[in-house]
C-alpha cells in the first residue's frame, strides 16, 4: 500500500466524489435502531483500536479528534455548548469557534479515554428516545467495576452522527454548556477571546 499511496488517495477521492454525487441528491434514509447501533459499534471499535494501538499520547489525542470529527455532529454540539451566545455570533465566529471547540473537546475527552488503555467498551442495547436513538454500552476498565456509557444518535444533520455521551448519568452536553458558559462569562461574552484561548490550550 505504501508504494501506491498517491494512486490510492486519488482513487479514494474519486470514489468519494462519486458516492457524494450518487447520494447527495437523495434524502438521507431515515435512521433506525440498527443503524444507530451500527454507528456506535463502529465508534467503539475505533476507540478500542486507538486505546489498544500503543500510540503516544499526542498521537492518541490526534486519533480521537479524527474519530470525533467523523462520528459526532460537532457543529451542533459546539452550537449547543455556546448556548444563547450562538444567536448573536457571526457565521465566521461560529466557524472559528466550532473548529476550536472540536480540538478542545477531543483533547479533554481523549485524555479521559486514554485511561481506558487495557480496557474495552461493549455495545449492549439500542432503543428509540424521542425522535432519536439511545445506544447503551458498558466500559470495562482494568480494576474497575464496569460502568455505563450511553450515546445519543440522530440524523437531523443529514448524516447519522452522535451528539451526546452520558457516562454514569454525567452528560457531555450539559457539562460543556456549563463550562463554555463559564469561560464566556470570564471573558465578558467575547467569543473571539474565547476562541483564541481555546486554541492556545
Amino acid at each position: 500500500m505504501a508504494s501506491n499511496t498517491f494512486l490510492s488517495r486519488r482513487a479514494f477521492v474519486g470514489a468519494g466524489f462519486a458516492a457524494a454525487a450518487a447520494f447527495g441528491a437523495l434524502p438521507a434514509a431515515a435512521l433506525n435502531v440498527d443503524q444507530a447501533r451500527a454507528l456506535i459499534d463502529k465508534v467503539v471499535a475505533d476507540i478500542n483500536g486507538v486505546i489498544g494501538s500503543g500510540q503516544s499520547e499526542a498521537q492518541m489525542l490526534g486519533s480521537f479528534e479524527k474519530l470525533f470529527a467523523r462520528y459526532a455532529d460537532v457543529p451542533t454540539i459546539a452550537r449547543s455548548a455556546l448556548g444563547a451566545a450562538a444567536r448573536s455570533a457571526s457565521s465566521a465566529q461560529m466557524a472559528a469557534f466550532t473548529k476550536a471547540f472540536q480540538r478542545y473537546i477531543s483533547r479533554k475527552y481523549g485524555r479521559r479515554f486514554r485511561e481506558f488503555i487495557g480496557g474495552r467498551i461493549e455495545v449492549n442495547d439500542a432503543k428509540p428516545l424521542k425522535s432519536y436513538y439511545e445506544v447503551i454500552s458498558t466500559a470495562y476498565l482494568k480494576g474497575e467495576s464496569p460502568f455505563e456509557v450511553r450515546w445519543h444518535v440522530g440524523d437531523k444533520s443529514g448524516k447519522n452522527l452522535f451528539f451526546n455521551i452520558i457516562i454514569e448519568g454525567v452528560n457531555m452536553l450539559a457539562s460543556e454548556r456549563a463550562e463554555i458558559g463559564a469561560m464566556l462569562d470570564k471573558r465578558k461574552g467575547d467569543i473571539d477571546a474565547l476562541v483564541a484561548d481555546l486554541n492556545a490550550t
Partner: protein, 254 residues
C-alpha cells in the same frame, strides 16, 4: 373473638409497605436548586485549598510509596468495613436481595478473603451494592433538597448531608471497635480515600484545576451522577429525565 396474626403473616406486608414506599419515592429532581450558593462557594474554596495543600500531595505520596497491591488490599478492607452499614441501609430500603448479597460478600471476604484483604466476593461474581442513608431517605420519599458543599466531604444535598451524619452516628461498627481498633478502622478509611484520589487524579484535577468554574462543574457532576445512582441506573432512559438534551431543537429556534 380475638384474632391473632402471626408475625410471619405480617412480615410480607411490612416488606410490601417498604416496596410501596419505594415506588412512591421522591419525585425525580431536575435542574439545580442552589439557594446557598454564596456559602457553598466559600466552602468550595476551602475544600480546594485543602486538596491542593494536603489531600492531593498526600495521595501522590501514598501512591508513590505503597505498592499497588497493598493499597488495593487496604481499600478492600475499607470496603468490608462499610458492608455492615450497606446491609443495614439495604434492609431499611426494603431491598432484601441486595442486603442478602452484601451479607454473603461480608462472609466471603472475611473468611476466604483473608479478613477482607482480598476481594474474593467480586472475583466470585458477587456484585457490591454500595448504599447509604441518603439513599434510604430517597427511597422513603424524602426530597433531594438544596445543593450543599460540605467541608471535607465535598458536594452533597440537604438529604445526603443528613444521610452522611446518620451513617456516621449509626454505623454498626461503632460499638464493635474501641480505642486503637477504632483509630485503625478510621485510618483504613482515610487511606482508601487517598487511593481513590490518586487513582482518579486525572479526572479530579481536570474538574478542580482546569475548568473555568470548578464549583459549577463539581455541582453538576455530583447531581447528575447521584440522581443516576439513585434512579437505579435508568434515569438517563426516562424521557422526562434531565439526561436528554435535544441540541437540534435549540438550533431550530435561531
Amino acid at each position: 373473638m380475638t384474632v391473632k396474626i402471626p408475625l410471619i403473616r405480617v412480615l410480607p406486608l411490612v416488606v410490601a409497605g417498604a416496596l410501596l414506599a419505594g415506588c412512591a419515592a421522591a419525585p425525580a429532581s431536575q435542574g439545580v436548586n442552589d439557594p446557598l450558593e454564596p456559602m457553598n462557594r466559600a466552602v468550595h474554596g476551602v475544600n480546594k485549598g485543602l486538596d491542593r495543600a494536603v489531600v492531593r500531595p498526600a495521595s501522590k505520596a501514598y501512591a508513590a510509596v505503597v505498592p499497588e497491591p497493598l493499597r488495593q488490599g487496604v481499600s478492600n478492607v475499607a470496603d468490608v468495613l462499610e458492608l455492615p452499614g450497606d446491609i443495614a441501609n439495604g434492609l431499611l430500603q426494603g431491598r432484601i436481595d441486595r442486603a442478602a448479597t452484601n451479607t454473603l460478600r461480608l462472609a466471603a471476604n472475611l473468611t476466604l478473603g483473608l479478613g477482607g484483604l482480598l476481594d474474593f466476593a467480586s472475583a466470585a461474581g458477587m456484585p457490591e451494592y454500595k448504599t447509604d442513608f441518603g439513599e434510604t431517605l430517597a427511597v422513603w420519599g424524602v426530597g433531594e433538597g438544596p445543593y450543599v458543599e460540605l467541608p471535607l466531604a465535598g458536594p452533597s444535598t440537604a438529604r445526603d448531608a443528613v444521610g452522611t451524619v446518620v451513617d456516621l452516628a449509626m454505623n454498626p461498627l461503632n460499638g464493635l471497635f474501641e480505642g486503637d481498633d477504632r483509630t485503625a478502622a478510621m485510618g483504613v478509611a482515610v487511606l482508601s480515600r487517598l487511593n481513590d484520589r490518586a487513582r482518579y487524579s486525572g479526572t479530579i484535577d481536570s474538574i478542580l484545576y482546569e475548568s473555568a468554574d470548578s464549583y459549577v462543574q463539581a455541582r453538576l457532576l455530583y447531581l447528575q451522577n447521584r440522581r443516576f445512582a439513585l434512579g437505579g441506573g435508568d434515569a438517563a432512559g426516562d424521557e422526562g429525565g434531565d439526561a436528554f438534551i435535544d441540541p437540534y431543537e435549540d438550533s431550530n429556534g435561531q
